[in-house]
């Protein structure tokens, strides 16, 4: 399982922003937070790390989306679950993001 907290920077253009919000609705497993001006916090849950990253890439390519910032990542693979990492790994705590990657435009 992988859970990531992203902040999506939407276009300044209201109509483009609407389009982006609309296409985001089409994604399963994305939970939208409260839009703050043009920054939208979302949580993405995916069965594994790879597909989590794929979603991240897809979102950044959506029209009306300018940037995607990753502020929180948690992954828990089937094989690591019982392993040394025990309860999975969590990087970045709320309020103090340690992993902040600006995507390409």
């Amino acid at each position: 399982m992988s859970v990531s907290g992203l902040v999506i920077t939407l276009s300044e253009e209201p109509s483009a922003r609407d389009r982006a919000l609309e296409s985001l609705e089409a994604y399963p497993g994305i939970e939208r937070g409260q839009l703050s001006d043009r920054w939208l916090p979302v949580v993405v849950e995916r069965p594994d790390d790879e597909s989590g990253e794929a979603v991240f890439r897809e979102i950044s390519l959506l029209p009306g989306v300018e940037y995607v910032d990753v502020v929180f990542v948690h992954f828990e693979n089937a094989d690591t679950k019982q392993g040394a990492l025990g309860n999975g790994q969590t990087k970045g705590m709320h309020g103090s993001p340690q992993v902040t990657a600006a995507s390409n435009r």
Partner: protein, 811 residues
Amino acid sequence: MNRRDFIKFSAMAAATAMARRKSGAAEAGPGEASNGEGNSPEWHKAPCRFCGTGCHVRVGVQDGRVVAIQGDEKADVNNGLLCVKGYHVGMILYGKDRLTQPLLREGGELKPVSWDKAIDVIAKRIMEDPDAFGFYGSGQWTIPEGYVAQKLMKAGLSNNHIEPNARLCMASAVTGFVSTYGVDEPAGCYQDLDECDVLIMWGNNPAEMHPVLFSRVIDRRSRGEKVRLIDISTRRTRTTEFCQDYLEFRPQTDLAIANGIAHLLIQNGTFDREFVDRYCHFRQDTEPDSLFGKPMSFEEYRQAVAKYTPEYVEELSGVPAEKIRMLGELFGRRDLRITSLWCMGMNQHSRGTAINRLVHGIHLLSGHFGRPGDAPTSLTGQPSACGTAREVGTLAHALPGGRLVAKEDHRRQCEKLWNVPEGRISSKPGYHTVKLWEKFCTPTNQGGDIRTLFVQVTNPGQSLPNLHKHFRGKKGLEDKFLVVSEVYPSASTELADLVLPASLWVEKNGIFGNSERRTQQWYKMVEPPGDARDDCWMTIAIARRLYELGHSGMKDRDGQFIFAMKNDEGEEVPIWQWPHYYDINVDKRLYEEYRPFTWMKHKNVAPYDELVKARGLRWPVVETDDGGWRETRFRFSGFDDPFVEEGKRIQFYHSVTKDDRALIWFNPYEPAAEEPDKEFRYWLCTGRVLEHWHTGTMTMRVPPLRRSMPHAYIEMHPDDAAEEGFSNGEVIQLMTRRGQIEAPVWIEGRGRVPRGSLFVPFFDEHRLVNLVTLGAVCPISKEPDYKKCAAKVGKVGSSTPAMAKGPEVRP
């Protein structure tokens, strides 16, 4: 919270915090004394889009979008309070399926076309046969929208086939006022609700339909004031809960109850002899019925009502005789202030004019008139039924400012004000609403002489009575052409040949007029979506295309385009080109052009610039000596109305009899147009619910409202349901002689009907109750009766297959 949820929660918290920091919302630097206004929306004023109460809202706008709504504390109407519809009014702009481009039907399918093409198609249809064109608007038209439509039709096309949907809701109130006082609209205002000792609601459920006004009354109780509420109704509603008295009457017998009160006032000698002697005459109907009837003496009147003894009224209505006596005694007391409230219960009545007259009559007879708190008050259901339909007179028989097409001097005045050649306005009234649609749905070779119909700001496909006959009949008639300007797909766009996407509410400038004669202005605040445009612009663009096609009616006496407008520099602005429409304030210019029309009947509306500064002003608005403007709360009362002559207590200065007197009418009780019988054994009543406004086109797209009331239902008495073998929630069939629908039964729900009665709300486009309602109209007002017809019920599948099934609506 399980672990997975906790992780997701933390992820969301982190992302939210980050998003907020980025937006600058969470920046709280030391030494910064500002109050966080960075995040605050910009607030504007506007009247609520929905009902005739006319509450003022504050509209919060941020980044070009409406993001919040508040009640306006400074507004006299609502003092900061709204109802649940008003609080969510901002959401009506953002339903996902807003119409954003013109759509033309080709090969049975609606396909996108350019605005240019769309306007062209309409103009050519009109050019082909100008007399076969009809314009169907509404009480939700802003005043300028109604005014341009009115001018295009009557001064441009010399065609009087223009009607508003207000014919379906307010027409009987208008004929009631006109035949009683000689001039339309209530004399009192909402202040009556603050001052009355007794409030009588006639077939009215303001707790759901005019909630803010209802709160205005009942909240007085929290302040320790005493007010007695009397509910005269055919079913228990939320309003009943707050009333001391509930008088349940057999449908249609409100006529008998009103006459019973009049009889008691005379028999007990408690009528106001002085008021009647000084200010009233008596009237009765002619054969056939007419608006002004014929005179009768007091003695004749006394004899006419004498039949309506409390016992006889009880026999007819089922209301106990002692309750009728109680009403008679209340009206007989001069120390009490009594206000009557009504809306659709009295108006949508096959004898709507009669019951309106009778209620005015008992107020006049008992002298409960003209003092704050003493008033017969009719409410409107639409935000500008008064402002646009009634004052601008967008009706087949009317001209602006209370004028009539049948009167030569009225036509001449309008031609002069419009600067069009004498004789331009046709003297023949057009078709009233039901007739208009009947003609449109009748094949041309069988006398259906309306071929093109333009619908704006209303949804006739859902709200007309007996839809099979008055709307769906259009299907398959090749040479009929329906144009619908709408904001969302609706039961009307389903049959439309051309659909025009319209701007909505604060996406355009506008002016409304509410139930208490209050004219309210607002400015455009956000852009309409996609290619949606103002209804006012559509009408002007069509007129311009007709002008270009050479229609002579589009020119005034000087050869100018009838809607020509200049900017402050004196240059003509091509407002018919959309990019130039907002170069000047078209609304203001149209409104100022319309204002002089209101002077004849002393309905002087305020100047535009005054409206900008105010939360609405109640006409007549007159200029004071110091250059200010003063509104009027109580019309015809010497202490407040500037047009009443010095020293007079009451003056009905537009009296039918030209002697400053109002008319007290006698109208007998008559049975309803269709009553239950052996086969169709239930009364069927239709109406609204709190959450939805009219046909639900807007409110069904607002999730909190839809979730609270997602579909129509059939209200039924538990004993009837038990007898029929229905359980609560079971979907059943409801049938009348006109069709059938299916909906779930709701027993002991929001409202409670007596045995033998059913109630179905009309907001649900998937369960169109108007497929089964009756098209019978009041002979004078031509308003249909939606409140009474005969119905039967049965298990699903029990009806004959010949009857049409409910519609599948989504296009």
